[in-house]
């Protein structure tokens, strides 16, 4: 019994202390999803704004994953009989949620918050990359602590104004916004 519990723990401990390769941080890796949803199609081709689906991203810590109801707003008509969308229709009818596989998932001891970043003009693209070019979602950044800190030490860079925060591709940087950003590297900002 003791061994059963102890060994996996040691294994995980060892694994995480090895210098992390992109494979280990799951950077750039596409996950299996119940529906082959493409940001490339919806953001790149259709030009949908992130907030059409990730509604709470400006207001709360969590960005929100859209419910089947949101998909059905369009897919009640577009591709209404496609087998690819069967799980969406099923979930819409039964009121259960679609079981998406999480692509980003920080350890529970890290407290991330979207709204502060959006308010300070940090663009989705700075952290999630060219989402409009992803046929399937993958993680663009390592999400390691050093990645957060690299930016937190120089928070003046990499910021945009207004709706450019949600745009993809080369956008003018917000040098003269008048909005300041402080360097926040105290442990307790991210660990409570």
């Amino acid at each position: 019994m003791f061994g059963l519990v102890f060994f996996p723990i040691v294994a995980v401990g060892l694994a995480t202390s090895i210098v992390r390769s992109p494979y280990q941080t799951e950077q750039g890796i596409v996950r299996n999803q119940p529906v082959p949803f493409g940001h490339e199609h919806h953001v790149g081709d259709l030009g949908l704004d992130c907030r059409h689906c990730h509604e709470s991203v400006e207001k709360s810590a969590f960005a929100e994953i859209p419910s089947a109801e949101v998909c059905m707003g369009c897919h009640s008509e577009v591709w209404r009989d496609s087998p690819m969308l069967a799980p969406v229709r099923e979930s819409f009818q039964s009121g259960t949620s679609i079981k998406w596989t999480r692509v980003h998932d920080l350890p529970d001891y890290v407290y991330f918050n979207h709204s502060i970043h959006i308010h300070k003009g940090v663009a989705c693209e700075s952290c999630h990359g060219r989402v409009d070019k992803m046929p399937m979602m993958y993680r663009d950044a390592s999400l390691q602590m050093s990645w957060c800190l690299d930016c937190h030490r120089h928070p003046e860079t990499n910021r945009r104004v207004g709706d450019a925060v949600f745009a993809m591709g080369a956008v003018e940087d917000a040098v003269a916004t008048g909005k300041t950003a402080e360097s926040k590297t105290n442990c307790s900002y991210c660990h409570r």
Binding site: G13, F62, V70, Y109
Partner: protein, 214 residues
């Protein structure tokens, strides 16, 4: 065990305790242990995060839907005209919010996020999604919709209509009224008399350099 007062909301299996968070002292102790290789406990803590399931509730959802009749902070009673667009079941004539530049800017932004994919940026019913096969909505610039009271537009946004999905759960009333104001501005933009425009805006229509300006 849960006192009776709690059972109205928590259908809990007797004997199962639900912990929201680990006390600070335990946390810091675990912090030390974590470095010693005890990570999984800290990585996946026994609390319900957004969208995680919970065994504490019969439907298994960790995120609780608000109870029927819940009024969110800062919102008015659910049957007030600001929330429904109606008085005695009839659409109200005028937007209850004061029209300002800020309100119109907010309305424009929300319109572009939620409505333009179908209705098109100028409201002609030719958005990207329509170009890919969604049935075309009517143009905002037909006289029936120009004449429709503000409350009617509000009701269409919150409850949907025909093939248009409802947005009541996704867009707060304040934003819906901002969108209504912006739709009115769009309608005016297509029907205003050139004589009524300020001098600067007349220029593109009167000047011989119109082509160059546009």
């Amino acid at each position: 065990m849960f006192p009776p007062a709690c059972k109205s909301c928590h259908q809990i299996n007797e004997g199962r305790r639900v912990v929201r968070s680990v006390p600070i002292a335990t946390l810091s102790l675990l912090g030390v242990l974590m470095i010693a290789g005890c990570q999984p406990h800290m990585v996946d803590q026994p609390r319900v995060d957004t969208l995680q399931p919970s065994a504490a509730f019969a439907d298994g959802l960790g995120q609780r839907p608000p109870m029927a009749g819940t009024i969110a902070r800062g919102r008015l009673p659910i049957d007030s005209p600001e929330e429904t667009g109606l008085i005695d079941g009839k659409p109200i004539d005028r937007n209850p919010l004061e029209i300002s530049d800020t309100l119109l800017a907010r309305g424009q932004q929300r319109f572009q996020i939620y409505c333009a994919p179908c209705h098109g940026a100028a409201g002609f019913g030719d958005g990207m999604v329509v170009q890919r096969g969604f049935p075309a909505p009517p143009s905002y610039h037909i006289s029936r919709l120009q004449m429709a009271p503000d409350g009617e537009l509000f009701k269409v946004i919150s409850q949907g209509r025909g093939r248009m999905p409802p947005f009541g759960k996704r867009i707060e009333p304040h934003d819906s009224w901002a969108i209504v104001a912006y739709v009115r501005a769009l309608q005016l933009s297509q029907s205003a008399d050139i004589a009524e425009l300020p001098e600067v805006d007349k220029l593109p229509f009167t000047s011989s350099e119109a082509g160059a300006l546009r």
